[in-house]
Symmetry: C3
Subunit: 164 residues, 3 copies
């Protein structure tokens, strides 16, 4: 290799680009891995670190909360019942697709709730995540969650993400 | 550090080797993370992107499908019943061992199916994955899946992978 | 870019630091991903590769085993019953925080056990992991596991890790 400056800059740039791609993937994996522990701790205000303020969380057709209000989801009656019963939000490791400053991911999530001596699966869902790079790192722009109850639209979420 | 060409090449090569190892791990994690969402979407033809054409998927002793036929698994009567009932293939984050152009991974998988108001665990399995680097990226050469029903052979899969 | 040695050293050092951070994260993910497959294989001696000899595994308030004795947990009557019934220790992908030579992670774990024609969730737990960099790589210094049965202390584990 010649040690002239131009060649070196190309070599460094190529490495930095590959590093950035890996860092993005690690950051997005971590972002999604934080949701379950936070929501099961009951500390809804920590969810604000995950969403963009103008982001949104949609559950099925009937429920929609903004990033600014995301903290309120742990205050819902349903969630309080989950917490007092004993509850685990189980999310699988996402499949991630990164395109510059936006990313798309899909995974499964489950709400596992204590019922007597065992825990039952109260919800099993398909999820799509649209994420965006912000000044404060990767954040959730849109999370859509649909019950896997035989509905074709929920299944389609896993491979045909709707546009933002 | 002296800026002579030979030293520089060693430095770059060392970094590139470490980068490649991380990229391989990320690619293999992504490869396995795609299985669940694809199979639950019902779009079996997308599974062809995961397997080598001459690869194989073995379930227990009785079932064996080639990479070329992998698309057919979503057409099976059992799978169609899963899809219409509401179904989630839950795979855990794999433990991965990479050796050059081949890799081995183990993880758990679960088939979670709706039954009335809740979902039940219809299958809980041990999996071993033999993967290979191809011109089109990492692909599954062999996936073996065995039910964790007390069978010692299924347990052994988790730490003593059989040779290809 | 000038090709003088000092600048180059800074460039290489910056890349190496970022690489190391990613390698640490990959190693910690792998460390935790190994627990489930090993414990379900029944080969407790392999758990010694995960813990520091002076590390500890605490389950609730009543159970505590050292890294040196970690192999014994697969010999417990409860665990032997799990293995003969058919059992899967399902761990979620951890949220990881690295600080030099120590790291903290949280995740969920589930013990899924066969009961007739299906598998039931016998335990659903919150976990915190304190890990340390050793001469033999990252190892578990402390793992704490608490049942998510409505207990506030278990919930707190997910966001307020106790000090070592």
């Amino acid at each position: 290799m010649s040690a002239n400056g131009e060649n070196l800059e190309e070599r460094f740039s190529a490495l930095e680009k590959r590093l950035r791609a890996l860092e993005d993937r690690a950051d997005l994996t971590e972002l999604i891995a934080r949701y379950g522990p936070i929501v099961d701790s009951g500390e809804g205000q920590l969810l604000e670190q995950l969403w963009s303020p103008n982001g949104v969380y949609e559950i099925g057709e009937e429920f929609r909360v903004s990033g600014e209000q995301i903290r309120t989801i742990t205050e819902f009656a349903q969630h309080q019942t989950y917490l007092s019963s004993g509850c685990a939000h189980l999310l699988t490791s996402p499949s991630i697709n990164i395109d510059g400053d936006v990313a798309h991911a899909v995974n499964h999530s489950f709400v596992v709730v204590r019922a007597g001596k065992e825990w039952i699966v109260d919800r099993a869902s398909a999820n799509e995540w649209h994420c965006e790079r912000t000044e404060r790192g990767w954040r959730v722009a849109v999370r859509r969650n649909m019950l896997l109850d035989g509905d074709a639209a929920a299944r389609a979420l896993l491979t045909h993400p709707r546009m933002l």
